[in-house]
Symmetry: C2
Subunit: 766 residues, 2 copies
């Protein structure tokens, strides 16, 4: 009844060659049938063609969206609008091992507030690092509004590397925004609070509560924020909001919005009107203009004092040194956006239906002429609106954020209340086009739209409410990002994309070919410190060592076993596991989970990941690989045995469930030789074609060759045991030899299929 393995393998290869997906002829009629059945219009079909990305296709842009209350970053492609990755940033996430392995716990530990772990973040505004005002594809920085922090993500491996805590603020919505060479990252406070951690009554609000903007120094070579070289402007207790850095003629300056410049404090529970009423009384709020270049020089010259261990420029000093100015701006503003040329600044205020365009030339002139209309209660000079404004344009109700097109003078503004996008000319001050979105848009994102050279092409409307756009999934709805084609005169809505987790606030899109992510780490790599792990373990060097009362397990993982497979410790021991992934193959991640513990390690090729815990209860604790890595994945397992204190082993021989004979051994060897013949035929196919012209195939062949090498080692062990007449071990190692053959065949078949599907030609036919 059973079929021998040889026949099975051969038969399968036959089937593979004979019955692969054939390309049948699709008639126009069947397209029409599908459109009719699905109720698609010609316009829908065009939108489908603009977004659909066939298997293996690449997206032109990658988007990094904040994940809002999820505390993560969301990565998706344009135009396919497929989400490629969630990156753990402020919130632990086990699939990535983030906050579960020792290495990433150290990153999260940097983000402690008042000594406490914070396991959540409210990410808002991601910023890509820039060189000369253009994205350089190296790092991403994102803020946490709830607990004012910034995090740095390395785009080499899409991992979070650093978290810094703001030394002054208790809330920070307006980060992160980089200067044109990523010299600094701007982070503004939001809800005013004392700069100290002390209690201060609200009766002292105007005197002691403060806002501010921090310029965090960024080192591009290290890819890290340098807190010791960063400085903060003390600002009035207005609620500072978003920022943008000047560029071109405005290089060296930063622009920061604010709302509630009324300095209103609510108290609805006591009959006072709520914050929302008092914070929106005045017709204008204040744009803060800060000179970071000159401030940095003062810091370098030792002229700025440290407070809370960090440089802080008091308002009086900033005024005296001519670093700080105010200009009236539309009320309750959100976006402040410097145009690519750096000479216009557009601000959208949610309670004013106009976008206001400021002229940097005018502002500069007013500053140079010291022409001010007065001072705010803190003595900061106020530039009159008429001395700063270029024009005002009615763009819709609840305007919120602006993004630039590649076409000169063209900008897009989101209108929250109107649920629409307005395309307008900010030079001439006229509306060009409008499109409805669904519903209530917050930020907008055009392709590289906040750089010195926007790409145009696409615009994404980051809507806050989905309501009826998708199949219902309970009271908590997904967000809805709508893709808009802006290549023509008229905007065209072409895709609705649900966001299944988190609420993105802002997003940035980068040309995909600027990113060069790695597919593996250097051998034994601590990916969080970007250095060789002190726990790196090489094949054959696995060991268990007790140092200073801690049992260190130096282990490895490779298809399909964890070394060691049995770990014995004593009740009460502190155990520190260190696992190095020995794989070289792309996408060959292994995982690790252990019964009774909150642990998942994600160990990508080359990485070393650790997990330290106390084995506080005697017992039997299975562990296993959590990534489906091979056909034998389920067998990639082991046992942690925690023995009672003082337990004396009587019999440590492992019980054998089955006994194998010479006949078993010979049967296995026969199978293996037949399998080898099949592998040889696959190898012959590959090498007879121009496989070296296909890099993915070259990688597969390398991997297959490595697996076949392992097969050879197992074969040797089998032969050695057989020579000694130990057919138990000989048979088992012959089995292991076959396992490596299966892994070789896996790679080989994938390579062969690839060649068949990608038009490889016979080498001699070339």
């Amino acid at each position: 009844m059973k079929v021998n393995k040889k026949r099975a393998l051969s038969l399968m290869l036959g089937l593979t060659m004979g019955l692969g997906a054939t390309s049948s002829a699709f008639s126009q009629a069947s397209l029409e049938d599908v459109m009719k059945a699905r109720g698609l219009t010609q316009k829908d079909l065009l939108a489908a063609a603009k977004t659909y990305t066939p298997t293996g296709g690449r997206d032109e842009y990658l988007v990094f969206a904040s994940g809002g209350q999820s505390g993560q970053i969301i990565v998706y492609g344009i135009p396919s609008m497929r989400i490629l990755k969630y990156i753990g940033v402020f919130t632990p996430e086990p699939w990535q091992g983030y906050g579960y392995d020792d290495e990433s716990k150290e990153v999260l530990k940097q983000g402690r507030i008042q000594g406490q772990d914070i396991t959540f973040g409210d990410t808002h505004h991601p910023a890509l690092t820039e060189t000369d005002g253009d994205y350089n594809g190296k790092f991403l920085i994102i803020n946490d509004k709830a607990n004012p922090r910034l995090a740095v993500i390395d785009l080499h491996d899409f991992e979070t590397k650093q978290i810094v805590v703001n030394p002054f603020f208790k809330s920070s919505h307006g980060g992160a925004f980089v200067t044109p060479n990523s010299e600094y990252v701007m982070e503004a406070a939001q809800y005013p609070a004392p700069f100290s951690s002390d209690f201060v009554p609200l009766s002292d609000f105007n005197d002691t509560y403060r806002g501010g903007v921090t310029y965090w120094k960024f080192n591009m070579e290290e890819g890290r924020i340098k807190p010791d070289e960063s400085f903060t402007f003390e600002l009035p207790p207005y609620s500072q909001d978003l920022s943008d850095a000047g560029k071109g003629p405005s290089y060296g300056w930063g622009f920061t919005n604010s709302f509630c410049s009324e300095r209103y404090v609510g108290g609805i529970e006591k009959g006072r009107p709520p914050f929302e009423a008092g914070c929106s009384q005045k017709d204008t709020d204040f744009l803060h203009i800060t000179n970071w270049k000159k401030a940095a020089e003062l810091v370098a010259a030792g002229k700025v004092e440290k407070v809370n261990g960090s440089y802080m420029i008091p308002m009086a000093q900033a005024i005296k040194e001519e670093l700080l100015y105010l200009v009236p701006e539309p009320k309750s503003p959100h976006g402040v956006d410097v145009n690519p040329a750096g000479n216009r600044i557009i601000i959208a205020g949610k309670l004013d239906s106009h976008a206001w365009v400021y002229s940097w030339e005018k502002i500069q002139k007013a500053i140079a002429d010291k022409k001010f209309e007065g001072k705010d209660p803190y003595g900061i000079p106020i530039i009159a609106l008429k001395d700063a404004l270029h024009t005002q344009v009615a763009v819709g109700l609840g305007p919120l954020h602006n993004q630039y097109d590649s076409k000169e003078c063209v900008v897009y503004t989101s209108a929250y209340v109107d649920s629409q996008i307005t395309k307008w000319d900010y030079c001439e001050g006229k509306v060009l086009d409008q499109v409805h979105i669904h519903y209530n848009v917050g930020h907008l994102m055009s392709m590289e739209g906040d750089t010195v050279s926007p790409d145009g092409k696409y615009l994404v409307s980051l809507n806050k409410l989905a309501i009826d756009r998708f199949n219902p999934v309970g009271p908590l709805h997904p967000q809805n990002h709508q893709l808009i084609d802006i290549s023509g005169e008229k905007m065209q809505l072409i895709y609705d994309m649900p966001l299944p987790l988190g609420e993105p606030h802002y997003a940035v899109a980068i040309k995909a070919d600027k990113l060069k992510p790695a597919v593996r780490y250097k051998s034994g790599w601590n990916s969080r410190t970007d250095s060789r792990s002190i726990y790196r373990t090489r094949a054959g060097r696995e060991k268990v060592e007790k140092v200073d009362g801690v049992t260190h397990v130096y282990g490895t993982v490779i298809r399909s076993h964890i070394t060691p497979e049995i770990i014995e410790v004593e009740e009460g021991d502190t155990v520190s596991l260190h696992l190095t992934n020995l794989e070289r193959a792309e996408d060959e991640t292994h995982g690790f989970a252990l019964y009774g513990q909150s642990v998942n390690l994600s160990i990508e090729p080359g990485k070393t990941a650790s997990y330290t815990f106390t084995a506080d209860k005697a017992g039997v604790y299975p562990y296993y690989c959590t990534e489906f890595c091979s056909a034998l994945h389920l067998e990639m397992q082991g046992y942690l045995l925690v023995k009672p204190k003082g337990y004396k082993t009587k019999d440590d021989a492992i019980a054998e469930g089955e006994q194998y004979t010479k006949a078993d051994f010979e049967k296995q060897v026969k199978t293996n030789l037949e399998t080898q013949a099949v592998i040889d035929s696959v190898v012959a196919f590959i090498t007879s074609h121009n496989y070296k012209d296909f890099p993915p195939v070259v990688a597969l062949v390398e991997d297959a060759t490595e697996q076949l090498g392992f097969a050879g080692e197992a074969k040797k062990k089998a032969d050695d045991f057989a020579a000694k007449g130990d057919y138990q071990n000989a048979t088992l190692w012959a089995g292991q030899w076959w396992q490596y053959q299966v892994k070789t065949a896996d790679m080989g078949l994938r390579a062969k299929t690839y060649l068949e599907q990608h038009g490889a030609v016979k080498v001699d036919a070339k």
Copy 2:
């Protein structure tokens, strides 16, 4: 320079009417241009038409996929392949407030192991509850492999409601699988371990380590698992794997695979061959056949003892009572899948290239005739393969899982090593078609494919490796789910979908119209216990109460304020916040975060969510709404003031930042009256059309009417203060009146746009 609000609003309405998205004529030429530019073939275009879903369109099926090591459930639509939601199950997730609010912490607490919180899960196989073998759309159950647990998700609100811990197992991969009326949920052990929590040496492996399968009793009315009525079969220390419940003629029986029936224990660190070698030596493993119906009767009759506080049927009793049988199966199996008619069982073994089809008639006959080929080492009767097998079919290398088509006798099997799907006829035993996937498929999913009435239409290949399919995002790759059109003779691959977080193992697809999720909760609802929260707070009833040393804050949230806005406590106080969302509007979720704490609450309309903590350091702690809920969202804020112990307030008056006069009041009132005129015009537009024919518009009108009612209340307060000559408060309340007008306009404009875009007609024109 400024434009008054009236003109702004009117102008905007004009723009809205005049410049909305126009439907331009798309020519065939432009479609061809797009196809050429994007390199799309006619076949690609057809695939695009089959999957592209225009704005507002609905998917035909909803998929619930396990999230693997993310510990979550992933919900996506077919054919659009858009992910709609991640549901927090075993891992805390802040966007949903899951594991962050008190109510959901109670759910996670149910899943503690040995008294410890487990903040991670390795979800594998989701199961939808069934009635008469068909999905009923009520509940979803999912397992955790790492720490053997099951969770119940209510499809009324897509929230996790219950977690149960297996009383015997230390590992459990093979869950969850429901019986045809969800009488029981099957969960099998994986890596053998002692049923006790004690240490047992590996020398006792064969005698004391055990496998098993638990039948968890499920109560459909309560939507909860009943641990007290559940029972477990003790099984040999083979590694049990997946299960399936019998149906039709096989109703009352359960089928459970196993691998490593060699009972091999590795130890590569000591020179022993690894688990993968020893666990795959034998040519066959064992299918376990258990009679749950008869076992349940024994339990009901009091004939089963409790162990670890739970019913457990020892092997000897199961054998004696004729509840347990074994049949050889292909080695290293994964899927065991009962066909819709319930008379065939297909098993795919990853190390055998054939799928084996068993005949339930033959198995039944062998059992009835007591015709066995022997017993296993534990005395369990083994039915001979020839007495159970219908046929064997060569389906590919590494066959893994089977899903049924709506067409009789048609089944699909995934082949891991070959990276292909084989469509075959299990009655005649012949291959019908094969298609390559990318790459290395694990499970398969057809539409309702494991029910008594599969729908066919689509098949999803749950691939384990993406490799080169998507833009690179670092060493950790997304998974790749490929959608295959199975409506015709030949399978057609039509979509590649990256999975950005987690590694789905199995997924189930249900016809979307079987689900009827809620859009809001009953007022003051504890969504985790499904009952009225004892902390429910109604509008105007907000209060702070100290009970048993705990300061309870009964608060509310509504656009755009949190009541209370100022909370004062003393250092060291335990504070318990309870926030009820007063909104009725769909999608009007509010959030809550507080500086210095790891908290985000997701408070959907009607929900009451709580957060309890110790205010252990005096200071100023801003809090705010984390969901962008309205134009005044940023102003939805407050302060927790933690006063030093014994602090005496000198002056508790809140500092006023601005003073308002009669003129300010009158200016605001003028604006409000002009705004009201605009609102009236929108109302006139809506009511002059057949808006009652559009349920979404009716909901918006209800919401707008409610907001306008609030505006009236604020107006009254403003008038009352003005009458008393208090223009400070009169102006502020007039501002609040205007805020409610803006919210009314928001709803009104959305309603108006909806009517315009959906062909509403004038009522008198009807």
